[in-house]
């Protein structure tokens, strides 16, 4: 391995280690958390509905207002506190979707707290939020969790169970024009917490099979079938295995000669043969099909050969076979 290659390997490993370290250390940033759920629940014993009036009986749980806070807190308590720890700032730091929809769900989502509160414990969706020292949930529920629960307990998780606006042509934001070139990486990543990455929520198995086993990519032109594929397969066969399962090569290469092997291809000792037929163990069979007892049945016959010819007349042990593999393997069988 050259020095440059060692360096590139080391660089890749270093980048991976840095990325891993950042993720593990939680280098994410973010505003300070000035509100503690646990302090309000364990300490003051406030019911959820005190701050979230619709949590048990409404469609949306709702957020507390400044007036809600002032029912217990004197505004004078905030004197001297940094701006970001004041009640108004904390309430204002709620995610935009909360402010817009009264919930993290979009308006079109048919979620009802009233319908769930009696049957589903709060922590099923909100995790350990009552013990949380922050304002945000330790567990953020998404479509994955909804679907899993509905699958278990019903109603059946059809699209219309939760969504009021269903558009078959809707795409997740990351399905942009360059998506096709990188969708494999996301599919392999296997992150179940991001619903936009969960292919199977929208796509059936046939979506994969249709493209990967059946529909050739754009560069698989007619020329590709005749010549281009051999060049790329020789360089990196593993790329072929993204779509091609066993046998697709053998079918063409053993059942018929390549399309290019026409006319004068084999005359007189075409050195092109050596480019593919190097092995010398079973390579004769690429042209001379299995079971052919003599050249009379071999297809195609080498140029200038008639079925009536006596092979040994020219290809005896003392007369080397004018063939790409020197005849060693043929002699093994055709003595």
């Amino acid at each position: 391995m050259t020095e440059a290659r060692r360096t590139s390997l080391l660089l890749c490993a270093s980048l991976a280690a840095v990325a891993a370290g950042c993720a593990m250390l939680g280098v994410r940033g973010g505003p300070p958390q000035g509100f503690s759920h646990s302090q309000h629940f364990d300490g003051v014993r406030l019911p959820c509905t005190h701050c979230h009036p619709g949590a048990e009986s409404g469609e949306r749980a709702g957020l507390p207002t400044l007036e809600t806070c002032h029912q217990c807190h004197d505004p004078a308590e905030e004197e001297g506190l940094p701006e970001e720890y004041r009640m108004e700032a904390i309430l204002g730091s709620a995610p935009a979707e909360w402010a817009a929809h009264g919930s993290r769900f979009a308006d079109e989502v048919k979620f009802s707290h009233a319908a769930h509160s009696g049957a589903v414990p709060c922590e099923t969706c909100h995790g350990d939020i009552l013990a949380s020292s922050g304002s945000d949930e330790p567990r953020r529920i998404g479509m994955t969790e909804c679907v899993a629960c509905h699958e278990e307990s019903g109603p059946a998780p059809r699209c219309s169970t939760c969504h009021s606006e269903i558009d078959e042509s809707w795409r997740p934001p990351n399905h942009d024009a360059g998506w096709m070139t990188r969708h494999g990486q996301v599919a392999r990543a296997g992150n179940p917490q991001e619903f936009t990455e969960q292919c199977a929520l929208c796509h059936q198995e046939s979506a994969c099979v249709g493209c990967h086993l059946d529909e050739p990519p754009r560069n698989h032109t007619r020329f590709w079938r005749e010549r281009g594929h051999s060049i790329e397969a020789r360089v990196d066969r593993d790329r072929c295995s993204t779509c091609h399962l066993p046998d697709s090569c053998d079918r063409c290469h053993s059942e018929q000669a390549p399309i290019s092997h026409r006319g004068p291809w084999g005359q007189p000792r075409n050195t092109h043969c050596l480019d593919c037929h190097l092995d010398g163990t079973r390579e004769c069979q690429l042209c001379h099909q299995e079971g052919a007892p003599s050249h009379a049945l071999a297809t195609p016959l080498p140029p200038g050969h008639l079925p009536s010819f006596n092979c040994r007349q020219c290809h005896g042990l003392s007369a080397p076979l004018p063939h790409v593999d020197k005849g060693d393997d043929c002699i093994t069988c055709h003595l």
Binding site: R5, L9, C12, A16, A19, A20, A23, S112, P157, S160, S164, I166, N174, D176, A177, G178, T181, G184, Q185, V186, R188, G190, N191, P192, Q193, T196, E197, Q198, C199, A200, H203, E205, G210, H212, L213, R218, N219, T221, R222, F223, R227, G228, I231, E232, A233, R234, V235, D236, R239, T242, H244, L245, P246, D250, R251, T271, C276, L278, D279, R282
Partner: protein
């Protein structure tokens, strides 16, 4: 060897709610259509439309369940190709079914393609420049059943039991099998372990006989801690070819860990017949909110690859042994602003012994770049430009392709694209170069009901001739 994309998708699919799959027969399809006209509409269907008009304040309603719920599609594909005096017409029919009884317990799926060669005009030996895999069979009508299986969900102790033709996608290599598959429920609450097994006859779509072929395997998988997954696989494969039976034993070990939701690390190792086969390490980082995505990969194949069975090495018969090598690579993708995305990728293969360099064992470097944009300068307007350069000893290729598209209301989409490829190769010191250009124009969109169409024309020019392809596709979804 890289795992195929479908592998991971399939794994995900089993974790999702089982999407009521269909019994694989036309009779069941007909029955479903009669029994449940409403249910025969998929997402975006009549009941969904009703729900949409009701608005978000509508209470959750459980629609009446039909006896049988089937979804799927019938797709008809007509293709005509011509050049000079040579032409070829093909007609393909695809059938996709997913569903099962509404009472649950059993679901199924099927994907079938029937290919008809309408006419083929070739030379005196019957050869045509449009010859492809389908022409290696005698009949003009051929079919491929990609998968067709039944899933049983209520067998005590099992998460899933499957019978039929299936793709086994969680295994170290993707296996295509006619047989059985069973997976236990997770046991041991702290370790969350599940066991599974499978067996059957490997599917070789292009091989005439499956006589003497078999596969059997088992696995154990665990999710012992948050974000972590462990898996051990063992498979035994037999393949009979030319009167001889070949055997391989494959062992696979995989560790995957996701740190928070953004970073994932995966390490996979396989052994074949007791010897190390490969090690694959992948790190990926995905930040959807920032539109950032990156991946690094290191792959090592320490020994020469020449498996006896095609499942573990489908290309050795044509491409001979694959010499020991390493592969390093990475890709990065970033959304820039509101409309533009840029992707870059780089791979390098390094042979352990440079003396192994041969027509079928190359060192190479490969770089690619993609620039894509959407909704600029008008809503629905987009496109991409992607370039690819592949350098190896003697065999190089370059490609450049681009597409411009416009999406209109009602999912109507028009696109104009072009592809250019240049191949440089060396057939025993004979330096050769070929250039291929193609241009395509396509229009696809909805028809009345749940029907869609696609019309496409493609023009290709290579060093030998010019070729034309017209494709007409009609799809009915139900």
């Amino acid at each position: 060897m890289p795992r195929s994309t479908i592998a991971l998708l399939g794994r995900r699919e089993r974790r999702r709610p089982h999407p009521i799959r269909g019994a694989p027969s036309a009779a069941l399809l007909a029955a479903a259509l009669l029994l449940s006209p409403a249910a025969a509409q998929s997402g975006g269907s009549a009941d969904d439309a009703d729900a949409a008009s009701a608005g978000p304040d509508t209470a959750i309603e459980v629609p009446d369940e039909p006896l049988l719920r089937l979804h799927g599609a019938l797709m008809t594909n007509y293709r005509v190709r011509w050049t000079g005096e040579d032409s070829d017409q093909d007609l393909d029919q695809y059938i996709r079914l997913e569903g099962g009884p509404a009472s649950g317990g059993v679901t199924g799926a099927l994907y079938l393609r029937v290919h008809g060669d309408l006419d083929a005009h070739g030379d005196s030996e019957g050869h045509t420049v449009f010859e492809d895999l389908w022409d290696t069979w005698d009949g003009r009508i051929q079919s491929r059943l990609y998968y067709g299986y039944l899933d049983f969900h209520r067998i005590p102790g099992t998460e899933l039991a499957r019978v039929g033709r299936m793709l086994l996608v969680e295994t170290p290599e993707t296996f295509h099998v006619d047989g059985l598959y069973a997976e236990s429920e997770e046991i041991a609450d702290d370790l969350r372990v599940r066991f599974g097994g499978y067996g059957g006859i490997p599917v070789h779509l292009y091989e005439s006989s499956a006589s003497g072929d078999s596969i059997i395997g088992a696995f154990a998988a665990s999710r012992p801690w948050s974000g972590g997954q462990l898996r051990i696989d063992a498979s035994h494969i037999e393949d009979e070819a030319e009167g001889e039976t070949e055997e391989d034993d494959l062992l696979g070990f995989a560790v995957e860990q996701r740190f928070a939701p953004r970073l994932g690390l995966a390490l996979r190792h396989t052994r074949i017949d007791g010897a190390s086969r490969d090690i694959d390490a992948i790190a990926d980082y995905i930040e959807p909110e920032l539109g950032f995505q990156a991946q690094l990969r290191w792959y090592d194949q320490p020994t020469t690859r020449h498996a006896a069975t095609p499942e573990l090495d489908p290309f050795s018969a044509s491409l001979h042994d694959l010499a020991p090598h390493q592969l390093v690579g990475g890709s990065v993708h970033q959304t820039v602003g509101e409309y533009v995305t840029v992707s870059l990728a780089y791979d390098e293969r390094i042979l352990e012994d440079q003396g192994d360099e041969s027509p079928f064992n190359h060192e190479y470097t490969r770089g690619s770049a993609t620039f894509a944009w959407q909704d600029w300068p008008w809503e629905g307007t987009g496109g991409f430009l992607t370039g690819d350069q592949w350098d190896s000893t003697g065999d190089d290729s370059r490609s450049l392709s681009g597409e411009l598209f416009q999406e209109f209301a009602d999912s109507l989409r028009a696109s104009l694209g072009s592809q250019y490829s240049r191949y440089e190769y060396d057939y025993l010191l004979q330096e050769e170069r070929d250039e291929v250009r193609s241009v395509y124009l396509s229009l696809e969109g909805p028809l009345e009901g749940a029907n869609r169409f696609r019309i496409e024309y493609e023009y290709e020019r290579d060093p030998f001739d010019e070729y034309h392809v017209v494709l007409v596709r009609f799809t009915h979804q139900f």
